[in-house]
Symmetry: C2
Subunit: 192 residues, 2 copies
């Protein structure tokens, strides 16, 4: 069975490697386009679906395509995507300081075997608490250059980890792919 990861995120690649090392990475060039009135957890699944469907449509034969998207939802319900610039990153991290926020990762698995298509879409949510962080600590983190392609301007698995004291949920979900749930779906679909 061909497995395609429809994401260029190195974290997702690393996480999927825990299940199988035999997969291709093909990334959609299409723009994401979601209805504005969806709830955050619906939005993130919709984007994951679009990423997966776009690649799936161009593939023939037996194949499974995995799409995923991650957002950070601050305690004021603001959705934090990737920061636009330095000031935007400072603003996001200041919003997260001394509070609990949600990380939502949407997953879409589309699967074709012997002409039969099956689809599984879901969202996994984790609560993350960030300690109080100073402007100096924010600057120090941003100087690492690791914040720019991350929702909420941070990565739980890098130097920013010293500012996170508590996680309630799945760590891989915060990294960008709930690998425990993908594993269960792959087992159910007999992909692994």
């Amino acid at each position: 069975m061909r497995v395609i990861l429809a994401s260029k995120s190195p974290r997702r690649k690393e996480l999927l490697s825990m299940i199988t090392t035999d997969f291709e990475v093909i990334v959609s060039a299409s723009d994401e386009n979601v209805q504005e009135d969806l709830k955050p957890s619906e939005k993130v699944v919709e984007i994951a679906k679009q990423k997966a469907q776009d690649i799936f449509a161009s593939q023939e034969g037996d194949v499974v395509v995995l799409g995923s998207d991650t957002i950070v939802v601050a305690d004021n319900d603001e959705i934090l995507g990737k920061p636009k610039d330095y000031d935007d990153a400072v603003r996001m991290l200041t919003t997260l300081s001394n509070k609990t926020h949600k990380v939502m990762t949407g997953v879409s698995i589309i699967y074709r075997k012997d002409g039969k298509v099956e689809e599984s879409n879901f969202c996994d949510i984790a609560d993350v608490h960030v300690k109080e962080i100073s402007k100096e600590e924010i600057d120090k983190w941003l100087e690492t250059g690791n914040a720019w392609d991350k929702a909420g301007a941070y990565a739980i698995q890098q130097e920013f980890a010293v500012h996170i004291d508590k996680l309630d949920g799945n760590y891989a979900t915060v990294m960008g792919l709930p690998i425990h749930a993908v594993y269960d779906e792959f087992k159910r679909l007999k992909i692994i």
Copy 2:
């Protein structure tokens, strides 16, 4: 300020690198020796203290020594250390299957500056839930060879991650060093 990590664990080395890359690793050759009647959370701090004290005693001048130890406590209160052999690992993982267990990491920081000695000892605890795992899945994990130097015969950051659906606490604590708390102590002691 010289920083010494009194542990040979590559995970602790990786985690401490998030705070500073300027540290030495010196490991105690002494055997651990703790009272049997201590609670698990006291035991793990006592072992961390012995590791740190043993190295600290042989150092002169301004220095900070960091000792740490990690245990897994199953829901029947059994303490799981490193597995003795294959059967022991299978037994441990079977005990953890479909249950929540505690991971306790004890930390001891001993610090000397201008002749003044300060010591900070604490334990950080995380709850980890392991999904139901089959004997086949246990065998597959053990085949990776990554289980042998780990308390409870698993590593949260490796292939075993697919079997863990939920963490309540700090991820780094489960890996072996609550880096968020070490960071706070290092800040308080003005080491960083």
